[in-house]
Amino acid sequence: MTVDLATLREGDEIVPAEITPEPDQVQRYFANSAFAPKFFSDEAAAKAQGLPGRIVPGPLKVGILYGSVARWLGDAGWVVAVRAAHRRPDLQGKPVTVMGTVARLYDEGGKRRADIELQIINQEGQPSVRGFATVEFWR
């Protein structure tokens, strides 16, 4: 999929994506990391931290946002920035939905850019992450 810059308008939505962050995905994410807290892999350790269970690591959720924007953008440009504020924990193995809206289309430094407002919505319909991305078009 590649977004069409000629028809893109502020208020356009990026296609919602349902994703289930699986425990093996979390395991792979930490495979080469020196920082791998036990509460991501151990239910009891998670509960001891006051968490509802094994949660999805925050950086992985930024990756989920990045992937959703990159897939929507396709070959039309590149992802300049992604920001995420983690409001609620998401549990491994539970599906989430990534939603996004084109908030602003503008020119900067001679390049066409778009700001995208993003959310990760949990199964209860609550936003667990509020995010923001900036993309730049090749044109």
Partner: protein, 150 residues
């Protein structure tokens, strides 16, 4: 009894501490790890996904804070680039404790918030990008106690 602030002069003195510039490389392993999070093809050359910056930390970090709370949780993080990254590119990076603040009360009780930035530069010294994260340090028992108060 109200909690006392944990931001002592000693803790405050950590704000602004910065590491030396250290080398990091946008390796294919780092790119594969980034792509593995959200799926897709791993580029062997050319433009690397910007998300790779989130996991490029200079080795030998020396920004340790005193252990003030038993638990910690990431509450926000981000990256921003000045230009696309290239697979195989060598960069210099430095970390900095940008801010320390606290919140008394709330879902997790008394919590400390530590914001850390990492800046990335190319061989010419031009800034290529930065990543940032805020960790919340808290006491799970404090959070549970507040739940009981509700």
């Amino acid at each position: 009894m109200a909690d006392q602030s944990l931001i002592t002069d000693e803790v405050r003195s950590h704000i602004g501490r910065t590491t030396d510039l250290r080398p990091v490389v946008v390796t294919t392993v780092a790119v594969a790890r980034a792509v593995g999070v959200y799926g897709g093809e791993v580029p062997q050359e050319g433009i690397a996904p910007g998300f790779v910056l989130m996991n490029l930390a200079p080795e030998g970090q020396s920004l340790h804070l005193p252990n003030l709370m038993p638990a910690s949780l990431l509450i926000s993080n981000e990256f921003a680039l000045e230009r696309p990254l290239q697979v195989g590119e060598e960069l210099q990076a430095r970390s900095r404790i940008a801010d320390i603040s606290e919140r008394l009360g709330g879902q997790f009780g008394h919590a400390l918030y530590v914001r850390t930035d990492v800046e990335f530069f190319d061989r010419q010294g031009a800034r290529v990008g930065r990543s940032a994260s805020t960790m919340m340090h808290y006491d799970p028992a404090g959070g549970r106690q507040r739940e009981g108060e509700r």
